[in-house]
Amino acid sequence: MKNYLNEKTGLWSWLSTLDHKRIGLLYLFSVLTFFFIGGIFALLLRLELFTVGETIMGPEAYNQIMTLHGVMMVFMVIIPGVPAIFGNFFLPLQIGAKDVAFPRLNLLSWYLLMTGALVAIVSVVTGGVDTGWTFYTPYSIRTDNGTIWVVVGAFIMGFSSILTGLNFIVTVHKLRAPGMGFFKMPLFVWGIYSTAVIQVLATPVLAITLLLLTLERMFGIGIFDPKLGGDPVLFQHFFWFYSHPAVYIMILPAMGIVSELMATFSRNNIFGYKAIAFSSVGIALVSFFVWGHHMFVSGQSDAANFLFSIITMLVGVPTAIKVFNWVSTMYKGSLSFETPFLYALGFIFVFLIGGMTGIVLATLALDVHVHDTYYVVAHFHYVMVGGTLFPLVGAIFYWFPKMFGKMYSELLGRTAFALIFLGFNVTFFPLFFAGTQGMPRRYYDYIKPYETLNQISTVGSWLISAGFLLVLIAIIHSLLKGKKAPDNPWDGRTLEWQTQSPPIHENFEKQPEVTRGPYER
């Protein structure tokens, strides 16, 4: 049976494809590879922190691995992550289009990501980089190692994100199926659309900041270097103007996936469709006004702290609305606990803890105590690993039948989830207490009182990596030996379930007509 996978074969057909579905799989392959490399770095870090004093490596090696873990996970895994893999694959399918608006631009975005990643990885052999993924000046100007490679790498990867965002905005505006108004679009498309708006508006400022940092390192232009009159806090303003909206680039598409999973596995129309749609856009817009909460103790004025703290509290409200609506979707539903749904429930539990600790960090007096401690590390892993990776893995299992035409094994899927969920909480929950006790982050070594908490956390990191390994095994197992998947295994209501799995190159035999809401039964 002809479909987009067996239509053309050979490496060149993949490397020069213009089909949004194949580009989605190219991203899936590269993002998962970067994820596992980043994960190994995380394991090394946790291993080093197992005991006081030197365990397996020296301070320079630890700082470089800490930076690489940060750079790879942020710029190569979670920012491209859900928008590039599932946005590329399922945005056209869910709005009934044949392809994204600019297919060539789409392929260019993938090559930009890979070039940027390659350039960033070259830094390992040219002296390594140990500035942390935030590149704060003047330290990032002072060290004479490979930092410039990572900065240029991130600069290139930024354009991959801009072009993907641009592509998706035009696709949503111009290529929707006839009859699909804005309020008949699935919530995943709303999530991808509001993420694209952030990608387009925030990433250029990162581009100029990293360009200035490169010029700073090459010619010492002194815009961010205090020795020449520059202001390092201004670098932080520019950096966080991008990096806070960037965390919403990471979470909004994942929230879109959770809306899909909730609706499909509760066999229920989503509760409060408009509320969820408007909160996605609301979060996207308010996220541009809150970056200062990363700089409460960085020498920012108290008046600016007042302003940023109050606006950050506003961002919490739409997030809370979404969680309440998801839980209400389960009310009077008919719930079946396949693996994707477990990831959605796991997301809600973990994101609740992440969200509430976020409120703690937005409160001025509390942030002074826990800023740059392990409380923050635990917080952002709860909202990034829990908030983005759980739905990403959930989406891999949810859309696996549609993408590859094969079913995964439910047993492997569920055990992998249990391992990941347990391992995640055992790894990161103790770190909240290390943080409130005052253990600073990015520390190669710590004083005795923090030892037991770190040991529990390291044991947890072995559990969670076993879980993610099991996910990989589940994927490979079902790619090879999976049973033939029906076109609509979960009785989903959105358009992608109405075409064959895996879909043909043109996605739909005939252009679908949209007459009802995305999740109406």
């Binding site: 301070p59 140990d130 500035t131 330290y139 205090p226 390092p232 509760f271 409060g272 509320a275 103790v297 960085s298 020498g299 108290d302 702290n305 007042f306 703290s309 509290m313 506003l314 919490g316 409200v317 809370a320 609305i321 309440f324 839980v327 209400s328 389960m330 009310y331 009077k332 539903g333 719930l335 606990f337 477990l342 429930l345 809600i348 609740l352 509430m356 703690v360 409160t363 001025l364 007096a365 509390l366 002074v368 105590h369 740059d372 079913m407 439910e410 569920r414 347990l422 909480n425 929950f429 409130t436 006790q437 005052g438 600073p440 990015r442 520390y443 070594d445 710590y446 029906p486 979960w490």
Partner: protein
Amino acid sequence: MFAHSCMGANKKTGTAMIYIFIFLLLLPLSAFSSAFPSPATPISTEVDQMYYFIHVLSLGCGLLIVGAFILFAVLYRRKNNSQATATVHHNAWLEWTWSIIPFFIFMFMFAWGWLVYDKMRTPYKNALEIHVYGQMWNWDYVYKNGRKTAEALYVPVNTPVKLIMTSRDVIHSFYVPAFRIKQDVLPNRYTALWFKATRKGLFNIFCTEYCGTGHYSMLSKVHVMSLEDWEKWISTDPYEGLSMVEIGQKVFRGRCTACHQTTTQKMIGPGLAGIFGSVRHFEEQDSLTADENYIRESILNPSVRIVKDFPDQMTPFAGLLQEEEMTGLVEYIKSLKPEK
């Protein structure tokens, strides 16, 4: 139909999931009490009260929401394939309530946070002003009467203190967990911190802004003592009646332990035992035996000669050490012998 065949597995996994969630809910309760270093300033107790409030409130709301979805998970398990599902999918009243309530909770938290923060940031009148200098990987302190110290920040109890801080190279951050205060220390600029210690004792100082290889070892202590002891300490010459080697040891313990050990074991910098008289090999220059001038020069201006396979990371101490301290250090390093 595929969905039907996995019906059996549904019940077992549904209940298994519930046990996992409940276990994880008990996790926070168990380790709640030992959450904070015991408070040592009036502000700390206020900050702790706020912590307990927000964490208990979050736990309450968390239990409500997680409880709700566990309840739904149990009640609305899929029993058969044609189960009727909800007809109501929108309730404006409900949407408003769960927008307004979080809004007010968050605004309340913001207001409370701002009030305590404002109290934290308003300067005490006639506070004892002390200068704090951060440099790559140690802190040192200068008092108004010119008294310099590096091994600890000596502070009288129950007296307001104002720290005026600046950095000699990159951004550091002065953090005393017991006082719940933190402030970045920026080059070319002064930032300030205020506290009034109400308990005597030694409290850790950490650097919390990443500043390079020795970021983790940039530790120091706040030594809170009674007013009389402090007055006696501030007026006495720190090195009175000490031999040259003892002076050197005092200076070493204040400034050099971040990177150097007194054994032969390498840390960030080389171990200093048995250095004096040994032959040192350098990246560029030809090697020489370590004598007093070499030790003096590599303390005052280390980047002149870099020992093979060591990074050029040591910050110069030129202008920071008095003559007495300098000679003391040299004597102390000469006295370090490798353990047999």
